[in-house]
């Protein structure tokens, strides 16, 4: 069985959406049918095995109405709402941004998401507006064996300032299904956006996420990704620095246990000069979990005086967990500063000895070391609300 036009029409994800959106879905569906399955000879998929994934097995789609909230009232001109509703109510805005940063033709899974995305949120903050309260978006899966494919569209006007968190939540911890969670983030000149994504789908789910940002002049993005759920999770985090003076901070933590497999692809694309990017992905692995990190810093020819940093640190807590780390650089300009690093290693025995010599039991000492390992990067979560959420979640999972 395959996913077809009929599946799409019966899925109910479309509602009474406008024609242009329907056309975009159909074109993505055509790409899905045309594009080959990623093969192990394809560099991006060499270490990522999707042979066990059949999206058609999850042909029941849970429609996402979009749950986004703010505790206080929404300032004038700010739009916080369901993406599918906004496609009708704010046609021009959605039409000119949706799927312009994330390309549904990129591969089979991007196409699938483009064709079948089940809803999500639109966050629009106009020029010069600051939203003090953090905005939260929650995406739920209620049933086992379904598809839940939310999409977030964030448009920040000039000098707009706000923080937003996407939470991906499953009702049952051992849930199976097809999940995605993508975000397109547009930062206008001078905008400052904090974005956090907290992925805690069920332990048996297949997750594909694309987070892609475009930064205009002097804008600042602080992106923080937390990956905890799914048997399989592939996330791409990409920032295009297209305006001088823009800065992207891309941070992530992941905790993989049991038989989980996490894959991260990152891109720091410096299109113009005087731009900064700072990436740090830290992960801890337990049991027989596996993770792959592959990241690229690309400095284009004219992008002088760019400054880029990229680091991936893996703490391997068990004998059979496996971490692969591939930090890459492509530098086409000499007037730059680029540094990258990767480490994979066990818990430092000297630290363990120190803690145990103070009477701390082994298990507690290990947990303290893991907390310390994440602590450095948790501090960089751009706003308090999200930081608390993430800390609580980690606390629970580390036991």
């Amino acid at each position: 069985m395959a996913l077809t036009l009929e599946t799409l029409e019966r899925s109910g994800v479309q509602g009474d959406e406008p024609d242009w959106l329907r056309e975009r879905r159909l074109s993505a569906l055509a790409s899905y049918e045309r594009l080959p399955k990623p093969s192990r000879t394809d560099e991006e998929w060499r270490r990522t095995d999707v042979t066990g994934f059949d999206p058609a097995a999850f042909a029941h789609f849970e429609q996402e109405l979009g749950h986004s909230t703010m505790s206080s009232s929404v300032p004038d001109g700010v739009i916080i709402g369901s993406l599918l509703d906004s496609a009708k109510d704010h046609q021009d805005l959605v039409r000119s941004h949706l799927f312009t940063l994330i390309d549904p033709n990129r591969d089979r899974f991007s196409a699938l998401h483009g064709a079948f995305f089940t809803g999500g949120n639109l966050i629009y903050v106009p020029d010069g507006v600051t939203v003090d309260e953090p905005i939260t978006g929650q995406h739920f899966s209620y049933e086992n064996g379904t598809s839940v494919l939310p999409h977030t569209l964030i448009v920040a006007g000039r000098n707009a300032r706000f923080n937003y968190i996407d939470e991906y939540i499953s009702k049952k911890d051992d849930e199976d299904g097809y999940r995605s969670g993508s975000a397109e983030i547009f930062l206008g000149e001078g905008a400052e956006v904090g974005y956090v994504s907290l992925q805690k789908w069920g332990r048996n789910a297949w997750h594909f996420g694309d987070q892609r940002a475009r930064l205009e002049k002097d804008s600042k993005l602080k992106l923080f990704n937390v990956t905890l759920g799914g048997r399989f999770s592939k996330t791409r985090v990409e920032a295009s620095l297209v305006g001088q003076g823009s800065e992207a901070e891309l941070k992530a933590i992941y905790l993989a246990s049991g038989e989980q497999f996490f894959d991260f692809h990152t891109l720091q694309d410096h299109r113009v000069g005087n731009t900064r990017s700072d990436l740090l992905f830290k992960g801890a692995l337990q049991d027989v979990a596996r993770t792959v990190y592959a990241g690229l810093i690309r400095i284009e020819k004219g992008a002088a005086r760019s400054d880029a940093y990229q680091a991936n640190r893996n703490l391997v807590l068990s004998d059979h967990a496996k971490a692969t780390s591939i930090p890459m650089l492509e530098i086409d300009n000499n007037d730059v500063r680029c540094t990258h690093g990767a480490t994979v290693g066990p818990v430092d025995p000297i630290s363990m000895f120190y803690l145990q010599s103070r009477g701390i039991p082994e298990a507690t000492a290990r947990r303290m070391i893991v907390q310390g390992f994440f602590g450095e990067v948790l501090e960089r979560i751009p706003f308090e609300h999200a930081r608390r959420l993430v800390e609580t979640e980690l606390e629970a999972r580390l036991g």
């Binding site: 068990s318 004998d319 692969t324 780390s325 890459m328 680029c338 540094t339 480490t343 994979v344």
Partner: protein
């Protein structure tokens, strides 16, 4: 310029020094590649039947293997338009005057003696060093060390040869190792017996006969238990060749407690595609060190690797690449940890100038059994202008427990502060940049024998002035 008096070679040359006299069998195969040509090469060399079969099987593999789809663009290579077996004496027929002026000028600037220059330029074999070679050979023979060219080794030491040949890099390893296995010729063969330390570095260049700089050279080095040898391949002066493809295979076996160091400074003329497979197997407590410099060629793809086969083995790669106009140096190293308690380091320094491109490409693979292994990779790149490019592609796969792996890389330009400091002391900009570059590659230079280090520094100076390539 100093010239060394020529020694009359005489008719018993081969018996006395183990040399070929090239004129004995001047031969030039037809262009292209097919089983007949391969058979002909093998027949000309009077090889045993197993080698002929090995070559034919390798040719089969070569035909089946796809071209690598990563790294540099190799689609321009026309395999049908290459001479696969040229007796070096053919290359010697060129005269000094025929050499491109930039190569001649470089020799002048480097201060290479004329006789040596002619050898380097492939104009004539240099027999002057044979006196040195002769006394060296006596000493080596006393210790039981075998140091000869690979073709002679096949003939004179058939059992030893057959035991190790093709065991480190089988023909099916990659397309170019298959090509080399089919048409190889020349290269060095070294056997160091148990417990023997060879104190002076062995240089291909002591053993000069026409064949050692071939297109498809094949080197095999065996360090028996507890032995030590340092082998130096190539020279710092540019080697001019009309061959467009150089595809060597170097296999090294370092047995228990032995240590081997292999130093290369590659400076092919900038029309050459240099696609080389180099690999060593290091056994218990053995040490393998690759010191690899890449300055010449149009495209180089070369990743010396060490398979750490038994506990306590150690691998080390020290790599320097310099890419000028039109050059792409795709170099790096590979460390494959198979056994527990093994350690490896890779240090890479690359410099790009005038639109050149350097890529570091490396692979650290730690297999499940290789517990308690440690690996560290450090790559530094220097970009001298805004036309040039630098890439870093490190692949790190860890499958074992309790492994420590680190990777660090930086890309930068010559810092304005350093330049300002030097220029404020009356040093010209160019000199200052040269000093900074020489300082940058110092960790590499200090591992070279003195005469090579001096030449390398001079060569960098020339590259910096843009007078080479």
């Amino acid at each position: 310029m100093a010239t060394v008096p020529k020694v009359d070679v005489g008719t018993d040359y081969k018996e006395k020094y183990g040399f070929f006299v090239p004129e004995e069998y001047v031969f030039k195969a037809k262009r292209g590649l097919n089983p007949d040509i391969v058979k002909e090469i093998s027949w000309m060399k009077q090889e045993p039947e197993w080698m002929t079969k090995f070559r034919l099987r390798s040719l089969e593999i070569f035909r089946k293997k796809p071209m690598p789809n990563w790294g540099a663009d190799l689609s321009v290579i026309d395999f049908e338009n290459i001479f696969y077996y040229l007796k070096a004496s053919d290359k010697q027929s060129k005269s000094w005057e025929d050499l491109p002026p930039d190569i001649k000028a470089t020799y002048d600037r480097l201060g290479v003696p004329e006789a040596e220059r002619k050898f380097l330029a492939g104009v004539s074999a240099q027999y002057e060093s044979e006196v040195v070679y002769h006394s060296l050979q006596e000493e080596l023979t006393k210790k039981g060390v075998i140091f000869t060219d690979t073709d002679s080794a096949l003939r004179d030491h058939p059992e030893l040869f057959k035991e190790y040949f093709g065991t480190v890099i089988p023909p099916a390893d990659n397309k170019f190792s298959a090509l080399n296995s089919a048409v190889w010729s020349g290269g060095s063969f070294i056997y160091v017996p148990k417990g023997v330390r060879v104190d002076i570095p062995l240089q291909a260049y002591f053993r000069i006969n026409a064949e050692n700089m071939g297109q498809f050279e094949r080197t095999l080095i065996i360090c028996d238990e507890g032995s030590f040898v340092h082998y130096i391949e190539g020279c710092t002066a540019p080697i001019y060749t009309t061959d467009s493809l150089h595809s060597a295979v170097v296999e090294i076996i370092v047995k228990k407690g032995a240590r081997c160091r292999y130093t290369t400074i590659q400076n092919w003329s900038t029309n050459v595609f240099n696609l080389v497979t180099k690999r060593a197997m290091a056994y218990a407590d053995a040490t393998m060190e690759w010191v690899d410099g890449n300055l010449g060629s149009q495209i180089t793809m070369k990743y010396p690797s060490v398979y750490l086969m038994e506990p306590g083995a150690k691998g080390d790669v020290l790599s320097v690449a310099f890419a000028g106009k039109g050059q792409h140096q795709d170099a790096g190293g590979k460390m494959i940890h198979v056994a527990p308690n093994t350690t490896s380091t890779i240090t890479s320094k690359s410099i790009s100038k005038a639109g050149g491109r350097t890529s570091y490409r490396g692979h650290i693979k730690i297999y499940p059994d290789a517990k308690n292994s440690k690996s560290f990779v450090k790559c530094d790149a220097l970009l001298l202008d805004d036309e040039s490019r630098s890439d870093t592609y490190p692949y790190n796969d860890v499958d074992a427990e309790n492994v420590t792996l680190g990777h660090e890389a930086t890309v930068s330009k010559v810092s304005d502060e350093q330049l300002f400091y030097l220029m404020s002391r009356g040093i010209t900009r160019n000199e200052a940049e040269t000093m900074i570059v020489n300082g940058f590659i110092e960790p590499f230079t200090k591992e070279l024998p003195l005469e090579y280090a001096v030449e390398l520094n001079r060569l960098i100076q020339l590259e910096m002035e843009g007078s080479v390539g």
